[in-house]
């Protein structure tokens, strides 16, 4: 009997405190990992050094010893002016990048005065109807010195055009602008469900953005390929990884199809992942993501530039892990999740505020969330060395398992005819719905403990202050957009929109035409309306 067998015997003789040990994603975990679990790993081939292929250990040679991750708190609510004040507060508190949250009407392409916008203006983010609002949103902020991330998808081209024109009016040329538009329509069909147009024209808008950015806004991240929402909809860590990368490959293929060179647009693609509660599973996910992307870009798509191989990503802690019960506990959850993101080598991070499950975060809650990152960065010591968990038998084994699981999913998606075909067949939607239901049942059967929800509960009144958005915000915004529609040069608007419609029916790049309409102060809803008449609308698939 060797030592390992002796240990196994000893272990079996002892009691386990529960019948099975699994990750947040229900993946079984062994009691012990040994060199045998990572025996297949070849250091040079599978791990390598930070900043070199296959980038498992990080995309930069120096990682956080050079520069810390960007602390980027997502914010936006009410009117452009109110959000502008919040941004200035955040910048004064040491935040280094802006992240704009839009309200639902803006996300869905409706003006604030549209019937369907009723009750939702400025509620979950800022209401932007026209260039006028965008100018107000960034008043007194030097757009050549901040990087701005905008969480906008179906109408991304329009909001991006507004941002470029707003900068142009401040005298800042577009090549100086840095930032990100989420612009990831595939995950909308899969999980988040804020779609407007059918997939084909949506992809055209995205490749038009690729082309325009390459010429005019070269420092802009054109798509933030997002697993965050896929995870929030109930997916497992593996599903988040696999579906997000599959979306990424689909964008690469769309770019190649319209004649772009891989190295001309892939370096501007970035990623956006979730950080859930299972620390090691999450770290393995990020490490596997980098390796898979680098391998596919190099081997499958023939990328030459090193920048094309780098999977750069933003992380947000898991909103779905927060609880309405004992909300202060969410501070602790968020801290562990942030730890996982940093140990996984994220480029930027948003930490959720404890009250986000109840309402929009208050200033105090936002500050604690930001401080969580600062404590991690400056006090915990985790940023002192690069990829500190490499070589852990457990972490390497999990990383390999993630990569293999993702490759299996890629094969299945390929067999179905690719991402669009899989969406059409409801493959992703069904996988996610099943995982979400399983998770909920595990909680209800007490197989999974959530502190304060199904264990360690107490009767209490929630005693934290909440931020409220009153109806006056909506009223004022509706007034502003109606006033604009009266006072602008409407002949110019009509001609710009007519030009846009002609271009939409053809195949020329839409971005310059959208910019002309934006300059004429055409509203988002008007521009979307024109595109809807040409492109049609996407309709929901019923999957439970």
């Amino acid at each position: 009997m060797n030592d390992k067998e002796r240990w196994q015997e000893n272990y079996r003789a002892l009691q386990e405190r529960q019948s099975n040990f699994v990750t947040v994603s229900s993946v079984p975990i062994a009691p012990l990992y040994t060199p045998q679990d990572s025996a297949g790993t070849n250091y040079e081939r599978d791990l390598g050094y930070p900043g070199s292929y296959p980038y498992t250990r990080g995309i930069h040679a120096n990682m956080y010893r050079g520069r810390l991750w960007t602390m980027r708190q997502f914010a936006g609510f009410g009117s452009a002016q109110e959000s502008n004040e919040r941004y200035k507060f955040l910048l004064s508190q040491g935040q280094t990048g802006l992240s704009v949250a839009f309200d639902m009407p803006t996300i869905m392409g409706y003006d604030s005065d549209h019937l369907r916008a009723y009750g939702e203006v400025g509620r979950v983010g800022v209401a932007i109807d026209s260039l006028q609002d965008m100018e107000r949103l960034f008043q007194d902020i030097a757009l050549d010195r901040v990087s701005t991330s905008m969480t906008i998808n179906a109408p991304a081209a329009i909001l991006w055009a507004m941002y470029i024109v707003a900068a142009e009016k401040k005298g800042i040329p577009s090549y100086k602008l840095t930032g990100t538009i989420q612009n990831d329509i595939l995950k909308e069909y899969i999980a988040q469900k804020s779609w407007i147009f059918p997939p084909e024209p949506s992809l055209r808008l995205i490749t038009d953005i690729f082309k325009y950015a390459k010429e005019h806004v070269p420092k802009w991240n054109t798509v933030s390929i997002s697993g965050y929402h896929i995870r929030e909809a109930g997916a497992t860590a593996l599903q988040e990884l696999a579906f997000t990368l599959a979306d990424g490959f689909a964008y690469v293929e769309a770019g190649i199809k319209v004649g772009l060179d891989v190295d001309d647009f892939v370096p501007r693609l970035s990623f956006f992942f979730n950080a859930h509660m299972d620390v090691f599973e999450e770290i393995a996910k990020y490490r596997a993501a980098r390796r898979i992307w680098a391998r596919h870009m190099k081997e499958k798509y023939g990328a030459k530039k090193p920048e094309s191989l780098l999977l750069r990503f933003h992380t947000q802690t898991a909103g779905c892990s927060l609880t309405a019960q004992q909300p202060e506990n969410n501070i602790v959850r968020t801290a562990y999740e942030a730890l996982a993101a940093v140990l996984g080598g994220t480029q930027s991070l948003h930490t959720n505020s404890m009250d986000e499950v109840l309402a929009l975060p208050t200033e105090k809650a936002v500050q604690i969330a930001l401080r969580t990152q600062q404590i991690l960065a400056y006090e915990s010591g985790v940023a002192n060395t690069i990829d500190p968990l490499a070589g852990s038998y457990f972490v390497e084994s999990l990383t390999d398992q993630m990569e293999k699981g993702a490759e299996d999913y890629f094969c299945r998606i390929e067999e179905m005819g690719g991402v669009l075909a899989a969406i059409e067949q409801n493959f992703f939607q069904q996988e996610i719905a099943d995982a979400a239901f399983r998770y909920q049942q595990e909680i209800e059967r007490h197989e999974r403990i959530i502190v304060g929800v199904n264990e360690f509960t107490k009767e209490e009144k929630v005693g934290i202050d909440l931020l409220k958005i009153g109806p006056e915000t909506e009223k004022a915004q509706v007034g502003r957009v109606q006033e604009l529609k009266r006072t602008r040069d409407n002949a110019q608007v009509r001609s710009a929109l007519a030009e846009l419609e002609r271009t939409a029916k053809g195949s020329d790049n839409l971005i310059p035409k959208i910019m002309s309409a934006v300059r004429a102060y055409a509203t988002e809803g008007e521009i979307i309306g024109v595109l809807k008449t040409v492109f049609g609308e996407y309709r929901e698939q019923a999957v439970y």
């Binding site: 309402a359 979400a436 209800e444 909440l466 019923a542």
Partner: protein, 143 residues
């Protein structure tokens, strides 16, 4: 044998696409033997009430995460009143702060509200108990 089934419309008003909760609930109600009509996303109060009437549901369950609960619940109640369909129970869930829950319940804009973390079994139990009180008519198999 009675063929009677509890019928529930799970509605998703508002513009957001966060349907994870709505779908988990739909499955749980189905597994509890109910017939669940799912409205689909982005429904207006008018569309929800009209569907509820055509489907003759016993309960409307609204999932709201957009923060618009203070406008949506009163509007749905008002429409039910206009259609003389106040016998349909109105319940809901989502990100609704405690104090708004109290306001909505006190003013009768909803019969019950379930905040995040509520076990689905609790919702099933509530519906079954409420409809039992209403009293099902005795079935007559031989008519």
């Amino acid at each position: 044998m009675s063929q009677s089934r509890i019928r529930v419309l799970v509605g998703k008003p508002g513009l957001d696409g966060h349907d994870r909760g709505a779908k988990v609930i739909a499955r749980a109600l189905r597994d509890a033997g109910m017939e669940v009509i799912y409205s689909g996303l982005h429904q207006t109060p008018e569309e929800i009430v009209e569907a509820a009437i055509q489907e003759d549901v016993d309960v409307i369950g609204l999932s709201i995460l957009s923060g618009a609960h203070l406008t949506i619940f009163p509007r749905v109640k008002e429409l039910l009143r206009e259609q003389e369909a106040e016998d349909i129970l109105l319940i809901g869930g989502g990100t609704i702060p405690e104090e708004d829950v109290e306001v909505l319940l006190r003013q009768g804009f909803a019969e019950a509200l379930f905040t995040p973390g509520t076990p689905t079994g609790e919702i099933v139990g509530w519906i079954k108990q409420r409809l039992e009180k209403k009293g099902p008519e005795p079935a007559r198999a031989n008519d």
